[in-house]
């Protein structure tokens, strides 16, 4: 962590991300308007001091809508990342520890899941189970799990090859012990990077689903929903879709940049060593 903070780029990214997250969480404090407050007379207003992002087709303040939308988007994003990590890591580690035919089965499952186009898969699941917030979080989490499993398995295999794991076995450690006490702590860096990238993918997935109308449903609105609604009414107000679009882009971009930073910090070759 300290190494990360030393990098100026990383600090900037973290601050911006923090800002986005905090403003979303503290939405009620940031704006006097209600996200569902209809004001028929103020439709499609351009940005102004009163309405930072302008208003939508029902006169609702878009800035407020975006803030509250952030709560949903980030909420689903966070929840699905957690689900993806828990399921994926358990899946990948189990395969790595067991090797043999269990490994084969688990990985073929992952491969098959990955072979199905993501959006298609998502559509089918949403159609089957409905698009409530919880469902969306679970569906997106499960979508991301197979890739997570693959990568977690890789990371675990790398550690399992090392001599300190052999040393642990030589001292009488059980497989579970080895996993928890030796492998997991050493894979945390790689998993952290993975989690960050998963978060980016999750937000994008949710935004995409909402954009095609299968994600968060009105009157709730995530950024994707707002983007969708704005896109439908783009001739009436150019401003409408721009801000949700920018925010989605920013969030994903910042998360990806953060993952990059984490990657460089955690790369052991980044350690400067002067040897003769």
């Amino acid at each position: 962590m300290h190494r990360l903070i030393r990098r100026r780029a990383a600090v900037v990214i973290l601050v911006l991300l923090g800002l986005l997250i905090v403003t979303a969480i503290a939405a009620p404090l940031m704006t006097p308007y209600s996200p569902t407050g209809i004001a028929a007379g103020d439709r499609f207003l351009p940005p102004s001091a009163a309405h930072f992002f302008g208003t939508d087709e029902l006169g609702r303040d878009l800035f407020t809508r975006v803030l509250y939308g952030g709560r949903i988007a980030l909420g689903i994003g966070a929840a699905s990342t957690v689900i993806a990590m828990i399921v994926g890591v358990a899946w990948g580690f189990a395969a790595a520890m067991r090797r043999g035919w269990i490994d084969e089965i688990l990985m073929r499952l992952a491969d098959s899941a990955m072979a199905i186009p993501t959006i298609l898969f998502a559509l089918v699941l949403v159609a089957a189970f409905g698009a409530s917030t919880i469902n969306l979080a679970v569906i997106i989490g499960l979508l991301l799990a197979p890739v997570t499993a693959r990568l977690a398995r890789s990371a675990a295999l790398d550690e399992l090859k090392s001599e300190y794991v052999l040393a642990a076995v030589a001292s009488g450690a059980t497989s579970m012990r080895v996993l928890v006490s030796e492998v997991l702590p050493n894979t945390v860096p790689a998993l952290l990077v993975l989690a960050t990238l998963n978060a980016a993918s999750a937000i994008l997935a949710e935004a995409s689903l909402s954009f095609v109308g299968l994600g968060v449903q009105p009157p709730d609105a995530s950024w994707g929903t707002l983007l969708f609604q704005g896109y439908q009414r783009i001739y009436q107000s150019l401003w409408y879709p721009i801000f949700p679009g920018i925010v989605i882009f920013l969030m994903i971009w910042l998360l990806t940049l953060l993952a990059d930073q984490l990657q460089s910090v955690l790369d052991p070759r980044g350690q400067e060593s002067v040897r003769s």
Binding site: R6, E272, V274, R275, S276
Partner: protein, 348 residues
């Protein structure tokens, strides 16, 4: 043995036979915690055809010295001083001249032959390529020369073997191929950086034998960098012992092994475990460990581990003391007395 004035300057470039004249070579790195100088103002000369050993442990700076000579140190590393090869300063050469120099007049072989050889090109291709870059030969002549070189290093049936890839060769053979490539343009100086460290001891013996023969036939000078005193003993005429970025002693090989002047050289020699070591006794060891370039002791870098350390050793860095008429020297406050003792005890 006579003793020169303490701190006397080394002979200047006007002195004949100094093919390589390294003056105040320094390598430093900028790190987050400050500037670290793993090679601290070292000077030495190499005569044509001379075989010099650079011996040291980790943190001594020996490998960085080799890289600095070939100008292979890149930022954030910085190199200072002069490296005069037949009068011209290598550190000041432009890009094209430098490219001509490397592999031509000055060649280098490394510890890990796999990283020096391109795994996707045949051995033949690489050797021939090396030849054609530095010599003006047509394809056929270059190939013939390559075959001759490979035979010289002990590869049987070279024309057929040239079609193989590096991974099809054993470590010892790859190392010998690297020697062939390095010698292909008849360099005046060969820098060998731990060439046998990664090899089995039996293979090592063969490779060193090959190397010796190749350099003797061509009259190339060699700087052999190694941590293994035994390897240096068998191969080098003169040996320089490095510690914490300085050359602490330089002497002709036989004299060094019989009467080391610098306490570190003495302790190092004693701590080597060879086949005649007394089993019943404890192995002589040097307490502590070699210092990191970022945390050098004050005064003489060896003083914390030196059994003879005086107060002055803690505060003042010793200056080089010339020993005898040649290049022999030692950097130690006690050098004069130790040399006198050696004379008294009947050294030649």
């Amino acid at each position: 043995m006579t003793v020169g004035a303490p701190g006397a300057a080394l002979p200047t470039a006007d002195t004949p036979t100094a093919m390589l004249d390294v003056r105040n070579l320094r390598v430093s790195f900028e790190t987050r915690t400050g500037v670290v100088t793993p090679v601290r103002d070292i000077s030495f000369r190499v005569a044509p055809g001379q075989r010099v050993g650079l011996v040291g442990e980790s943190g001594s700076g020996k490998s960085l010295t080799a890289l600095a000579l070939m100008r292979l140190i890149h930022p954030p590393g910085r190199v200072g001083g002069q490296v005069l090869l037949n009068g011209r300063d290598v550190l000041q050469l432009g890009g094209r001249e430098l490219a001509k120099l490397r592999g031509g007049q000055v060649a280098m072989i490394y510890q890990d032959p796999m990283s020096a050889l391109n795994p996707v090109q045949t051995i033949g291709h690489q050797v021939v390529e090396g030849i054609r870059i530095h010599m003006n030969l047509g394809a056929r002549e270059a190939r013939d020369r390559a075959a001759m070189l490979l035979t010289d290093v002990g590869l049987r049936d070279p024309l057929r073997r040239m079609k193989s890839y590096p991974h099809e060769f054993s470590g010892g053979m790859r190392q010998r191929v690297m020697i062939a490539m390095a010698m292909s343009a008849d360099p005046v100086l060969l820098i060998a950086d731990e060439p046998t460290t990664a090899l089995d001891v039996t293979t090592q013996a063969l490779v060193l034998e090959t190397l010796m023969r190749m350099v003797e036939e061509r009259g190339s000078a060699v700087i052999l960098i190694t941590h293994d005193l035994g390897v240096a003993a068998g191969f080098c005429e003169d040996i320089q012992v490095m510690y914490a970025g300085r050359i602490v002693e330089r002497a002709e090989a036989s004299r060094l092994f019989r009467h080391p002047v610098h306490p570190y050289a003495e302790a190092l020699l004693r701590s080597v475990c060879d086949l005649d070591v007394n089993i019943a006794a404890e192995l002589p060891a040097i307490a502590g460990q070699p210092p990191l370039p970022s945390a050098l002791p004050s005064g003489c870098a060896f003083h914390p581990r030196c059994p003879y350390a005086l107060d002055i050793c803690r505060t003042v860095e010793p200056a080089p003391l010339r020993i005898g008429a040649g290049d022999a020297m030692a950097e130690c406050h006690l050098a004069e007395e130790r040399v006198a003792d050696a004379v008294a005890s009947g050294d030649r």
